[in-house]
């Protein structure tokens, strides 16, 4: 058995804190700090959330809001690491398959009801129940029975979760799932108030019916304009929540920048890469970028020629790209070049291929050799189309990529952009040969990226299938020891590199504009910065 408190500390220490000190869970502000009189937080969202029901929502912007409204068994710490939420402690069985969580008795819903183990069991059963129509029920896949229920083959009650008493939750897992603590904090495992959901049906998320258990409650929603949250005085840690109100504005990229510069919002969550240098020159430290748990890569169709049968060709295209030019010249230095699938993760040794360190000349020469070995030449060039979704910074990127293939190999690749949903449909039908395959990890664990190349995985759009690779993932799934598990993942990633399974381009960055007087947040790889910890210093123009 592993004590929950200790695990929490380990995760926090893994969170990139070199000194090993534990980051406090709440906004403990130093005595003597001069705070602004009005602590209202004003933040931007990139799109209007489509729902505020944690079991139904799928978009990142909705998650940002529900992170403030609900609290799972675990929750996001100041630095994005996992800290105790409704659960104050937990234990894991030796085989890593059974977890027991102990709920804090003081946790309350915003209507005064105690938050009980049954609330969690209800929320999770609701999440996997096909009748609910949750678009992300498979988030609960590690739990025993979840997928059988979601696909209509088992009753909802068979989900491997139970509430032996009001303050204990037990979860049975299919295999050791070290990232369970991250799943528990996320929207799809946050609790919902059963009586409210059952009384109001879909309308329970309207502000007038609203009941939640997080630091804030929903006060007002104006679609396309603004979402207002107010502090939940019944939240168990309300004493440490500074903001009486949080206002979220869903705004377009350019509009966010204007609003921020006018001082009408304190936090902008996006800007175009092309604006980065100008903003940095004009706003200085208010422009904040950090690593993000996502990769932009190109994948190939493994069912059809030319890529399916030619590893040499895949590698040739891979080696012919100059990532530094793409990230620094085209991308203005916002993102980091990627040579391998998995972004930097705490405790994981990235498996960059040997050629990542080569000089351009040597790499290009090898790319040309592979291109020729695959049977292509100036007289018989590769002619193919690369499909990518229409988007802000994409066009320049693909113009540069195809130009590199033309210059370095003589390959004639045509960039072709399509609306995201159209591209998605083509990918599902395996109609594209070479395409952008971006992925944002659901939790900071290599598995969320590696599964993209697992045989039979839904989002394996290239239909990549390799028994060796699948075997390594299966071995990792059985492994309860974290270090050995990561060892399998490292082997699996190397295998992908050798096979040229994909063409990694860059690791995404999180981009923010933050007023200097807004404190109580830290950059983190999942880009989760909850309002609970934030506060405003005294500043001009209040």
């Amino acid at each position: 058995m592993l004590a929950g408190g200790l695990l929490g500390v380990m995760l926090a220490a893994c969170g990139g804190d070199a000194a090993g000190t534990v980051v406090p869970a709440a906004a403990h502000i130093r005595v003597g700090t001069r705070l602004a009189a009005d602590q209202t937080l004003i933040r931007a969202l990139d799109t209007m959330p489509r729902s505020f029901d944690p079991s139904l929502l799928t978009d990142v912007d909705a998650q940002k809001v529900t992170d403030d409204l609900f609290e799972g068994l675990t929750t996001f710490g100041l630095d994005g690491s996992m800290v105790p939420g409704v659960a104050s402690s937990w234990e894991m069985s030796a085989d890593g398959r059974n977890w027991t969580f102990h709920l804090r008795p003081e946790a309350r819903w915003s209507n005064g009801d105690p938050v009980t183990a049954a609330d969690f069991v209800y929320a999770w059963q609701r999440q996997v129940d096909p009748k609910t129509g949750s678009e992300y029920a498979q988030a609960l896949a590690p739990i025993v029975g979840a997928m059988a229920i979601a696909t209509g083959h088992a009753p909802v009650a068979s989900l491997g979760v139970e509430a032996p008493d009001a303050h204990t939750v037990r979860i049975a897992l299919n295999s050791p799932t070290p990232y369970l603590l991250y799943l528990l904090a996320d929207s799809y495992m946050q609790p919902v108030h059963r009586a409210t959901v059952e009384r109001w049906g879909d309308d329970w998320t309207r502000p007038e019916h609203w009941v939640s258990n997080g630091p804030f409650v929903l006060r007002e929603v104006i679609i396309g304009n603004r979402i207002t949250l107010v502090k939940n005085p019944l939240y168990w840690d309300a004493a440490h929540v500074r903001a009486p109100r949080v206002i979220y504005y869903p705004l377009d990229t350019l509009t966010q920048v204007g609003r921020f510069m006018a001082g009408d919002i304190q936090w902008a969550s996006i800007f175009a890469n092309t604006q980065y240098r100008w903003l940095k020159a004009n706003l200085g430290d208010q422009v904040v970028i950090g690593p993000y748990l996502g990769i932009s890569q190109l994948a190939v169709n493994m069912l059809e020629p030319p890529f399916a049968m030619s590893r040499d060709l895949r590698l040739a295209l891979n080696l012919a790209l100059d990532r530094r030019v793409l990230t620094e010249k085209i991308g203005a230095g916002v993102s980091q070049p990627a040579y391998s699938l998995i972004p930097p993760l705490p405790g994981y040794r990235q498996q960059e291929p040997e050629w990542a360190a080569w000089s351009d000349e040597r790499r290009h020469a090898e790319a040309r050799r592979l291109y020729a070995a695959a049977g292509y030449s100036a007289a018989h060039p590769l002619r193919v189309q690369v499909d990518y979704p229409t988007g802000e910074d994409n066009r320049d990127q693909y113009d540069a990529i195809t130009a590199m293939w033309l210059t370095n190999l003589g390959a004639q690749v045509e960039p072709y952009n399509e609306e995201f949903r159209v591209l998605l449909q083509n990918l599902r039908l395996h109609q594209s040969l070479l395409f952008q395959d971006s992925w944002i990890g659901d939790f900071p664990d290599p598995f969320t990226f590696l599964q993209l190349f697992q045989t039979g995985f839904d989002q394996n759009f290239g239909a990549y299938s390799d028994a060796t690779f699948d075997g390594l993932l299966a071995a990792a799934a059985r492994e309860a020891d974290p270090a050995r598990r990561y060892g399998y993942f490292e082997q699996a990633e190397r295998r992908l590199n050798e096979e040229g399974a994909s063409i990694p381009i860059q690791y995404y960055a999180s981009k923010h504009l933050v007023k200097p007087y807004l404190k109580g947040w830290q950059l983190n790889i999942q880009d989760r910065m909850v309002s609970r910890y934030m506060y405003l210093l005294e500043h001009e123009g209040q």
Binding site: T132, E135, A137, N225, G258, R259, D264, Q425
Partner: protein, 310 residues
């Protein structure tokens, strides 16, 4: 033909027109690749089926179409697909007043400034009072709102801090000034040029020459004799223009963060929110028909030579 008779005939034509609009919008949207509940994450078929059943997307298309028409006939535009538990009627009820306020004010401002500037330019033809305003009018028509909007924000919100950079706040005046100005600019320019052209034509016509020959002062000539014929071309322009601003300017709404219909329409199209997009298209059709009808009635009232015919 009486006015009532005229109205009756026009409304009878409106029904099949709207039916065609609704059918085309419905057909085109459903023909577009990608559905409202497609996402990068694949949904288990059973769950997808339960979502689609909720919105009747599992039925054959003809039945969905008939169901939609039936609801439409009862004034129900259906549930929005992208915003869970929100109906299209609700979205339009919330968004239409925003566009109505911003749009009416912008058109009113455009009409007043454009009318005055155009008339003065016509009266002082080929002088500086003509050339300078007409230069700006060409500029106003040529520069798109996605340039003027951010520019206004940059000057008045970011640099001078006189006005907020956007937001709605229930139509508070401070929040209205910039979006109304940005929306009014191209209309002002257009109206000024149109009024100038019409006024020049009217001022040189025999009945004005007669009025002048009788020794009437310019003020009386303009207001009593010239105004009505000058307004004629404006009326046919304002009808569709008003329908246009009522259904929202996507750019103005995005730039200033206004909760109007235009942005719903845009995100609706991207997210394949079938009911929302068809609903707004039908609404636009209704408004166009309505305002064209009003324009025709105004026409008849302004010009005794016009006879109402359908």
């Amino acid at each position: 033909m009486t006015v009532l008779n005229f109205l009756g005939r026009r409304l009878m034509i409106a029904v099949p027109t709207l039916l065609v609009i609704a059918t085309l919008a419905f057909g085109l949207l459903h023909a577009t690749p990608g559905g409202p509940f497609d996402s990068a994450k694949q949904i288990p078929p059973e769950i997808k089926h339960s979502i689609e059943a909720k919105y009747h997307l599992d039925e054959p298309l003809w039945r969905q179409y008939l169901r939609y028409l039936n609801d439409l006939a009862h004034g129900d535009l259906g549930p929005s697909f992208q915003y869970r538990n929100t109906s299209v009627n609700e979205l339009i009820r919330a968004g239409l007043p925003v566009d109505a306020v911003v749009g009416s004010l912008a058109l009113l401002a455009a009409l007043l400034t454009g009318g005055v500037v155009g008339t003065v330019a016509a009266l002082r033809r080929n002088g500086p009072w003509d050339h300078v305003p007409m230069f700006f009018a060409v500029l106003g028509i040529s520069v798109p709102v996605f340039v003027t909007g951010p520019l206004l924000i940059l000057v008045f919100a970011v640099r001078l801090h006189w006005l907020p950079s956007g937001d709605w706040r229930g139509g508070e005046i401070r929040y209205l000034i910039l979006p109304v100005t940005a929306l009014a600019l191209p209309y002002t320019a257009y109206i000024a040029r149109m009024v100038r052209g019409a006024a020049i034509e009217v001022f040189t016509s025999p009945f004005i020459r007669t009025a002048r020959a009788k020794g009437l002062p310019t003020r009386i000539v303009v207001l009593r004799h010239a105004l009505r014929p000058v307004l004629m071309p404006l009326v046919s322009f304002l009808g569709p223009a008003f329908a246009g601003v009522l259904t929202g300017s996507i750019i103005i709404e995005s730039v200033f963060g206004l909760p109007g219909i235009g942005r719903y329409f845009l995100t609706g199209a991207i997210n394949r929110d079938y009911t929302l997009v068809v609903g707004i298209t039908v609404l636009y059709g209704v408004l166009i028909i309505l305002f064209n009808l009003l324009a025709d009635l105004c026409y008849a009232w302004l010009d005794p030579r016009v006879r109402l015919q359908s």
